[in-house]
């Protein structure tokens, strides 16, 4: 049920934030683990984004007739140029609406 999910995810998140802060003596992260942690953000962000851009209802949809793919390509350019989350969202959504309605 939904409340159990909320409590459980909140506790996990707090536990991760508290992990090293909570230890009695300051400890360094083991080197091997630290190297691994470097690749969490790119792996996680790509794993979240790619299925939403390249699939529809679970099947691959990678042609330029896919409005979300077109919007993502525009968003990548804007993200590279501006390094701004806000402008990336604005440009990506405008591109999505143009691609799905403007060209229909």
């Amino acid at each position: 049920m939904v409340w159990a999910m909320i409590v459980a995810t909140a506790l996990v998140t707090l536990a991760l934030r508290f992990s090293f802060l909570g230890t009695l003596k300051p400890r360094a992260i083991p080197e091997r683990f630290r190297v691994m942690l470097n690749y969490v953000p790119p792996a996680v962000f790509a794993a979240i984004v790619l299925p939403q851009v390249l699939t529809r209802e679970g099947t691959l949809y990678a042609g330029l007739d896919n409005p979300r793919l077109v919007a993502a390509l525009v968003a990548i350019v804007v993200a590279r140029l501006t390094r701004s989350i806000l402008w990336t969202i604005v440009a990506g959504m405008l591109a999505l609406w143009v691609a799905q309605w403007g060209l229909a």
Partner: protein, 222 residues
């Protein structure tokens, strides 16, 4: 206050996105607000809500969230030496407020002004400000999400947010390998039972990045 302004500009759209996507995933306004307060993390909030809506078992949701949030361990370890003197209850308060931008601001402040005391107030004060901004933005997102028809595809703002973040974190070849492998794995693993696809893809991508880095070290010695 001044140090907080630029990061808060990024907090507002992500808070809106969180409110919109949480609503789209079927959480009520009350559930969304409680979850925003309880997790104080947009990525945890959105991914959990979506997995829950897709019928994933609780253990899969928890495990996925744990892998997604592993970066919080880096932040925790980074701040720990600066805050070792604090009593446990203050460490819990700091831990609750430990977000990406709180970490980024604090570590700069602490290393540039190592002589200043009251470091916990720096995090708690900044955290309280961003907490208020975050919850107002999530609340606004709930309202927007309830008004705007699904055909507008506002849920896509979640993918766009992380696309922007992905562009920022891609700065070396092992990272690119982690992203490419993680992204492809997420598509291939989409139909795994129990909604295990995301956690499997994330772990595969992390393994790819780590392996690439190990090869670089072995072959080029750097």
């Amino acid at each position: 206050m001044r140090a907080m302004t630029p990061p808060l500009v990024g907090v507002v759209p992500f808070g809106l996105v969180t409110g919109v996507v949480s609503t789209a995933a079927g959480l009520s306004p009350l559930e969304t607000m409680v979850m925003a307060i309880a997790t104080f993390s947009g990525i945890v909030h959105i991914v959990s809500a979506q997995l829950y809506a897709a019928g994933a078992p609780l253990v899969v949701i928890v495990a996925t969230v744990a892998v997604l949030s592993l970066r919080l361990v880096i932040y925790s370890a980074g701040l720990a030496p600066w805050l070792a003197h604090l009593p446990l209850r203050w460490k819990l308060v700091v831990a609750y407020f430990l977000t990406d931008h709180a970490y980024a601001l604090s570590i700069v402040e602490f290393t540039h002004h190592p002589d200043r005391g009251n470091r916990h107030w720096y995090i708690a004060g900044g955290g309280a400000i961003s907490w208020v901004v975050w919850l107002v933005a999530v609340g606004a997102g709930i309202v927007v999400g309830a008004q705007v028809p699904p055909a507008w595809g506002l849920d896509f703002t979640f993918a766009l947010t992380f696309l922007a973040l992905l562009m920022v974190v891609l700065h070396d070849r092992p990272g690119v390998a982690a992203a490419v492998v993680g992204g492809i794995a997420a598509i291939l693993a989409f139909h795994l039972p129990l909604k295990l696809g995301l956690i499997v893809a994330a772990l595969t991508g992390i393994a790819a990045g780590t392996a690439w880095r190990a090869m670089e070290v072995r072959w080029f010695g750097r």
